[in-house]
Structure formats: C-alpha cells, structure tokens
Symmetry: C2
Subunit: 217 residues, 2 copies
C-alpha cells in the first residue's frame, strides 16, 4: 500500500488517522504542496487532479483519491474498527458532520484557493487571513451547533466511538490552530478534539509529527 | 418524508435525482436562497447551518443534511436501484468522482461564496465570473481526465449503471450551463451527461423544471 501525502495537508491527516486506527502501515510518499510537487509529472501520473492525498492499495491497482472516498474504502475493506456506525440515521449524521468539514469548510482554505486569493485577486495578507478565518469559523459554528444540540453527541461526535466525523473535526481544529483561529467559542468541539487527541492513533497522525514538518509546534 | 430544497440549488438537484431514481416522492418545501429564506428562523430550526438540501425521513425524526450524506442514507435504506457499485474499488472511484464536484468544485461557487466575493471583497461582475468559471473548469478538467483515462468508464461514469458520480456530474454540468461555462473541451463529460438526461428520473429533476424556476431555459 502506497500513501501519497504531505505533512501539512489536512485531508492527508484525515486519511492518516484512519490508517492508524485500522493498524495499516503503508509506504508514505511525500508530495510537498508548497514546492509544487503535486504539479510535477511524476505525481500528475498518480493523480491528474494534482491534489493529495492519494492511495494505491495493491501494486498495479487503481489510484484512490479524495480523502472521504479513501476513508470509506478503508472502512469497506478493513471494517474493524469501523469509522461509521451501523444504523442508517447515525451513519447519515456522521457523514453529514464530516461533510461540514470536507465539503463546506476545508475546500475554501486549501493552497490552490489561497494562491488564487493572493496572485489572481491580489489580496493582501490581512484580507486573505480574514477569508480563511471566516470560513474556518463557519465550519466550526455549524459543527458546534450540531454537537451541542444533539442527543447523539457523546464522548465523541456520534456516541462513544471514533468515527469519520471526529476525524474530520480534528483535522479542522488543527487547521484552525495553523491559522491561529481561536476555538474558545466552541466548547463541545474542544472537548471532543481533546478526547480524540488522547488516542495514540490520532495524536501520532498530527501534521507536526510527520517528516518534513517544522520542529516547533 | 419532507425534502427542503430550492429549484436553483445544485446540491438539491442531486438529491432530487436520487429520490426520483428510487421512486420516492417526499413533500417538497421550497427554501429560496436568493430571498434569504435559509436564514429565517423557520428554516434555521431545520438546519442551523442554513444550507440546503435537508431531508426528514420520518415525522419527528432527525434532519438529514449534506447532499452526499443524504444520498448515502437513501442508498442505505432504499438500496434498489443502488447508487453505488458493490465492489470496494469501484465504490471508491464513484465516491472520489463525486467528491470532485461535491467537495472540490461546487463549494467554491455557491451563493454564500458569491456573496462574499461581491460584498466583502467588492469584486466586480467580471472578476466574480472569472472565479466561477475557473473553479467550474477545474472540476470539469479533473472529471474529464479521469473519465477519459479509465477503463471503468462506460455508458455512465462507472460502467453501465447510474451512480452518485453521474448525479454529481450532471449537477455540475447544469451549473456550468447556468454560468455559461463552455463544455466543448469535455467530450466524455458531455456524452455521459447527455446519456443521463435521457433518463426521466434525471431530466424531470432538472432545476428549470421545478416550481419557482424561470419559464425559459
């Protein structure tokens, strides 16, 4: 199994947590987005969309892409521990919470968007940071509102087992830390993120613990 | 079953296709995003994130949100016809193709983003349209590259049955039409979208055929 990833990529972080939870140890191939390695011929052959993460499960097998699709695949093939509950309404809630991050919030702050804001729209750093904080916050507000108002919320987002929703939430919280977005207004989010970080599968997947990351937190 | 939707919403369009394919006929409640009805107290009680679509399957039951999560739910509960293939690698490809639209491209052009570009960044119409076309195009390029280069591509995105990937692709193609983004460079996309539109479950879900839509195409 080959996992194309980069330390700072929050979508890679999600898949890394899922791999750790399932005890899978793929070969990790770093693709440095800041150096533009995703646009190099070598990686374009892997994923023509030039985004990470990507996963090849078997030699010569197809390249899997999109973090949510990769996690669903891992859950299909390696169901223990499951990243989704078994009951359909609970599965829907977990997938919807995951979507707040993976579909609504995170796509708005990834490098290609920040590049567009800087180089095409010529926004200064303050305006770019305002954009980033705005959309990080919209995601966190939606997540907190759901968690705080649902009887399904437990030790983790959905009762007492880690699911994809927790994985997405943790990735978003770390993104907030990267961009110094204050999580004080989100107590349920903070409680669950802290609980998740006590799990070694989560904590050792942290971006700052990966090869290539800067030494200081 | 109650379906909170709006004619122009492409995410609502996706769920509407899925409902039609499965022969489900929920009560439809319109939430006009241009009038800001998503921010009204009445709808905020349904979905605090103020986004559509949302679905309530049973009276008093939870509100389902996020189009991908709703489609997965419908597929869990009403599996015939299935919107995902049964084989894990094929499921992963369908979900990843879906994610190109649902996670990468569409979130960048929704009303709340267009509002931010206009009112916060004060972009003129040309700059806003350039943004929209750029991200519509990035999605279509990625989709076309995958479709054109995969042996899995058939009559539809994944062999010969309609899946979530086709639903997402059709919604994105209709979005391109709304914003006059030319699909000529995407022959595989166009072929599959045209094939999908021959299915009545798809064609009758078209945004312009919904209540509230303008009379002309």
């Amino acid at each position: 199994m080959q996992f194309f990833s980069w330390w700072r990529s929050l979508a890679s972080f999600r898949v890394r947590i899922a791999l750790n939870l399932k005890g899978l140890t793929p070969e990790v191939i770093n693709v440095d987005l800041l150096k533009g390695e995703q646009r190099a011929e070598r990686y374009r052959k892997v994923n023509p969309q030039m985004l990470i993460p990507a996963l090849i499960d078997e030699d010569g097998g197809p390249v899997l892409f999109q973090s949510m699709a990769i996690m669903e695949y891992l859950d299909d093939v390696h169901p223990h521990p499951n990243l989704l509950p078994s009951e359909p309404l609970a599965r829907a809630r977990v997938r919807a919470l995951s979507g707040i991050v993976a579909s609504d919030a995170h796509p708005l702050i990834v490098p290609r968007i920040r590049d567009y804001l800087e180089h095409e729209l010529k926004l200064d750093e303050a305006a770019r940071m305002k954009w980033i904080h705005h959309w990080l916050g919209e995601g966190m507000k939606a997540f907190e509102a759901n968690l705080a108002n649902s009887k399904e919320t437990g030790r983790y987002c959905q009762n007492d087992a880690i699911t994809m929703a927790d994985i997405c939430l943790v990735s978003h919280a770390v993104g907030c830390n990267f961009f110094k977005y204050d999580l004080t207004p989100y107590p349920t989010v903070r409680r669950i993120v802290e609980t998740c970080m006590q799990d070694e599968a989560v904590s050792k997947a942290h971006p700052l613990k990966q090869p290539g990351a800067p030494a200081a937190a």
